[in-house]
């Protein structure tokens, strides 16, 4: 696993730098415009881009052919593709807690939004990766566009109904909001596990 993460980090330094700058710019705009809500959702879509980059140069060099002549197992390889989404999911959760907590002063609401921020990168990556393994990274473009479209629509919906949702949450019992948060996180993790399992089946079946 360490080997694969190391490889991902060193293989495309210029692209990562570009990404970092882009994110910094967007975050900067978000903060100055007062739309801090966007920040957790930035954490949501970065893993998808990182995943696409990783799959891209692997497919170009036929890297799995080399990889499976090392002691790294198919399972480890599959899991390494989900690492970034989990990492960014956690970062999204923490930042969501902070952002929504500060903006709206309500812990319950912040918790639920943080949980959602955690779930979004996880679920979107979980939906994409098995398809990329099965159909190759060339189709990744279509998959990514579809996911972004869904993400974009979701953000707008959430934005529109933010106040309504906040009121809804505030009328609920405090304990319920914890349950909802836990349910969202648990649901996301379940989807992640199922996705990992599916990807393992696909990768083990594949020929190089």
């Amino acid at each position: 696993m360490k080997a694969l993460l190391y490889k991902d980090l060193v293989s495309s330094k210029s692209t990562y730098l570009l990404l970092l700058i882009m994110v910094g710019v967007i975050a900067g705009i978000a903060i100055t415009q007062g739309a801090m809500i966007i920040i957790p959702f930035i954490f949501a879509y970065i893993p998808m881009i990182l995943g696409a980059i990783s799959f891209g140069y692997e497919s170009q060099s036929e890297f799995p052919k080399f990889l499976f002549t090392t002691p790294i197992s198919r399972t480890t390889y599959v899991k390494s593709k989900y690492c970034f989404s989990v990492l960014f999911g956690i970062m999204a959760f923490v930042s969501g807690l902070a952002v929504f907590g500060m903006e709206y002063g309500s812990l319950d609401f912040a918790l639920i939004m943080a949980a959602t921020s955690f779930a979004v990168p996880i679920i979107f990556v979980a939906l994409q990766i098995p398809f990329v393994f099965e159909y190759g990274v060339e189709k990744e473009g279509i998959i990514m566009v579809a996911t972004y479209a869904v993400l974009f629509i979701t953000i707008r919906l959430v934005g529109k109904h933010l106040n309504r949702m906040m009121n809804l949450v505030q009328t609920m019992n405090r304990i319920n909001s914890y349950l909802i948060s836990v349910a969202i996180v648990a649901g996301a993790i379940c989807i992640l596990v199922v996705s990992i399992h599916m990807s393992c089946v696909i990768v083990k079946r594949k020929e190089y």
Binding site: Y6, V10, K13, Y57, E58, P71
Partner: protein, 288 residues
Amino acid sequence: MMHNAIEIRNLTKNYKGFSLGPLDFTIPKGCMVGYIGENGAGKSTTLKAILGLIHADSGEIKIFGNSTNEHEPELMNKIGVVFDAINLPADMKVQEVGTFCKLAFTTWAENTFNDYLKRFTLPDDKKVKALSRGMKMKLSLSIALSHQAELLILDEATSGLDPVVRDEILDILLDFLQDENHTVLISSHILSDLEKAADYIAFLHNGKLLFMEEKDLLVERYALCSLDDETIGHLDPEAIVGRRRHAFGQDLLVIRNLMPKSIKLTNASIEDIMVYIIKGVESESVAL
């Protein structure tokens, strides 16, 4: 203590328009086996099946006595593999490749790797994409030799390389074989490399194994001669394995001890044997 590096029983693999097998053969420890055959004969398919990169349709493969059905990734520590392309991300530097391998292989020997880099003059900070074909191959070989592998598998690793580099690589393979527990399986259609040092030759043609023999026995069994049609008419037909007809007579590959003593024979190279057997097989029945 098992004596065989690889055992293949009844291996088959079917693709659209081509099928490999059933293959049965054994690679004993401590020797160099040259796996020859024309392009498309199925050599790479066999090697990929051994390495678990493709799934066989039937049959069993054992490496070091253990069946590969229960595929243990740790086994790959003991197998060094060199393909004809390097399959590493183009933007990785040589040094970074070394670090990756250190993290990937449990038996990685960093000093050995660095020694090979020096020996091949591969600069640490050069990116994979900036390496020439020969240097890429040397990097692959450096990796394969730096994790205490006991079995080296090379798949068309030397195609596209100049004879000087190929000679260097042959030296390294022979060094590798100084340890009698080490084995080399090399598939190539550049047969001059194998002429010199291979112990066995396995010949694959259209997905079937025509033979696997001690190279010395092949050289002793077959010979070439150049004769006119009339003389050929008097020969035992069993003696002729393959022929090339030309405007002024025929070139034949023959079985030495079925030939009359009076006829002058010259030694046949592995390449001659391969080419004439294929010619012979295509147009008429073969006496092997």
